[in-house]
């Protein structure tokens, strides 16, 4: 049983529990619990099934169910991204299995990277976001909930599927795509006018670092990617849910709590994102030191966007304040002592 996807599925369950607890109304909570529970079942299946072919069929079913939930955008629009992802991944599997020239393996690597990007919703396949969409039918679900487990499964299976040369190409493409998303997401979260869009871009920036970590073939890089996905699931996603509540209630404020939240979102010490960044920089230094330099410069882009997102939480009260405190405490603990998370993932 692969340790990393299973751990991420457990973290996704914890993330769902936080999202349900701190959602605004009882009806929304029930709706989120039903949809999230179905999604979690799909995630568990993707993590546990013995072959990638069955995982693709499960992903297809998950995409179909997601597209068929009631929402403001059309069924065609919502079904497109997951189905394109399945088609690309299925083509990648087919190319990996054809007997023929080495270039077929490289086509397979391209298909795996493109399919992963399409499923998660990062560049060049960013999903269309409607700010009024409910959380259960928003494309953020793919970035923040389904994506981490799926990406982990795909990276693990790709290692068994691809030849060594194609595996190197796969890693290189992940690093390239990661850097692109890191820069695009960082600048987008900073410069875009719309706060929901800024949140979406901040997820994309986090994914940039995670993809770069997956692409680094060393253990530090993979461990950094795991901690980045931890931060997506148990820091950014619950805070995003709380910010959706705040969006309907109050205007942006700049209290100490907003600055602490901004620090957690930016991956400052001593939160979980900081440990992830240290591991990623160590991994990049081992592979190709100029890459560490580019990553370090890219990491600075988190700061302005995170300050903005921290302010968007307003002044959390009651259940939401408790939620923010819990998320901060979890990320503080993971940042100070990340070893159990890394050990559970097999690092």
């Amino acid at each position: 049983m692969p340790a990393e996807p299973v751990e991420l599925a457990v973290l996704a369950a914890a993330s769902l529990a936080l999202a349900v607890t701190f959602s605004v109304t009882r009806s929304r909570r029930v709706e989120l619990l039903i949809r999230g529970g179905a999604g979690l079942g799909g995630l568990a299946a993707i993590a546990l099934v013995p072959t990638l072919d069955i995982a693709l069929v499960v992903l297809l079913a998950l995409g179909l169910l997601f597209a068929n939930t009631q929402g403001t955008s059309s069924f065609a629009l919502r079904v497109r991204a997951p189905m394109v992802a399945v088609a690309l991944l299925a083509l990648a599997l087919a190319f990996a299995r054809f007997e023929g020239p080495e270039v077929l393996q490289r086509f397979a690597a391209v298909g795996l990277v493109a399919g992963m990007a399409a499923a998660v919703g990062v560049l060049p396949y960013i999903h269309q976001l409607d700010p009024d969409e409910s959380l259960g039918s928003s494309p953020v679900v793919w970035l923040a909930f389904v994506g981490p487990v799926l990406a982990s499964v795909l990276v693990l299976r790709a290692q068994q599927l691809l030849s060594p040369d194609a595996g190197e190409a796969f890693g290189g493409m992940l690093i390239g795509l990661g850097l692109l998303n890191l820069l695009w997401g960082g600048v987008g979260a900073w410069k875009t006018k719309d706060v929901p869009a800024a949140w979406r871009y901040s997820f994309i920036a986090d994914w940039g670092l995670a993809l770069a970590g997956f692409g680094l073939t060393v253990s530090d890089g993979r461990g950094g990617a795991l901690l980045m996905l931890f931060a997506v699931l148990l820091c950014r996603f619950p805070l995003y849910v709380i910010s959706r509540v705040a969006a309907g209630e109050s205007t942006a404020t700049e209290r100490p709590i907003n600055l602490v939240v901004a620090a957690a979102l930016a991956g400052s010490a001593p939160f979980a994102g900081f440990a992830a960044r240290v591991l990623l920089l160590r991994g990049a230094t081992q592979v190709f030191w100029p890459l560490a330099l580019v990553l370090a410069v890219g990491m600075l882009l988190w700061l302005p966007g995170s300050l903005r997102l921290g302010r968007s939480l307003g002044r959390p009260r009651g259940r939401q304040a408790l939620g923010v405190a819990l998320v901060i405490a979890i990320n503080l603990a993971a940042g100070v002592y990340p070893l159990p998370i890394l050990s559970a993932g097999g690092f």
Partner: protein
């Protein structure tokens, strides 16, 4: 991509090259029928999903994609994975049966 536009022309030429390569490389040798079926089923259903907004056509394409993806499992060699085919058949049948919900206005 309107008719006569440069992107459409480039897409046509690229598709022609791809078809030529498929004819040359994928449809020869042993197991060619399966390789050809998998590629065309996945490629055509994926293209249809991208080109239509009509729910029945989308659902049909999704069903074909599920079956095409499952057929790709046979390319791996070894004994057939029955669980894969059963899962794909359930999803394909479910896609045909599932009532499509339409977008809520506003």
């Amino acid at each position: 991509m309107p008719a006569g536009s440069t992107p459409r022309l480039i897409l046509c030429i690229a598709s022609a090259f791809l078809a030529w390569w498929i004819a040359a490389a994928v449809t020869t040798g042993s197991g060619a029928a399966l390789r050809f079926t998998v590629l065309t089923a996945i490629g055509l259903s994926g293209a249809r999903i991208l080109s239509t907004d009509d729910p029945p056509a989308l659902m049909t394409s999704v069903a074909a994609l599920a079956l095409g993806a499952a057929a790709g499992g046979a390319l791996a060699g070894g004994s057939p994975d029955l669980a894969l085919y059963v899962a794909a058949a359930i999803v394909a049948a479910g896609a045909a049966w599932l009532p499509v919900r339409f977008a809520r206005a506003g």
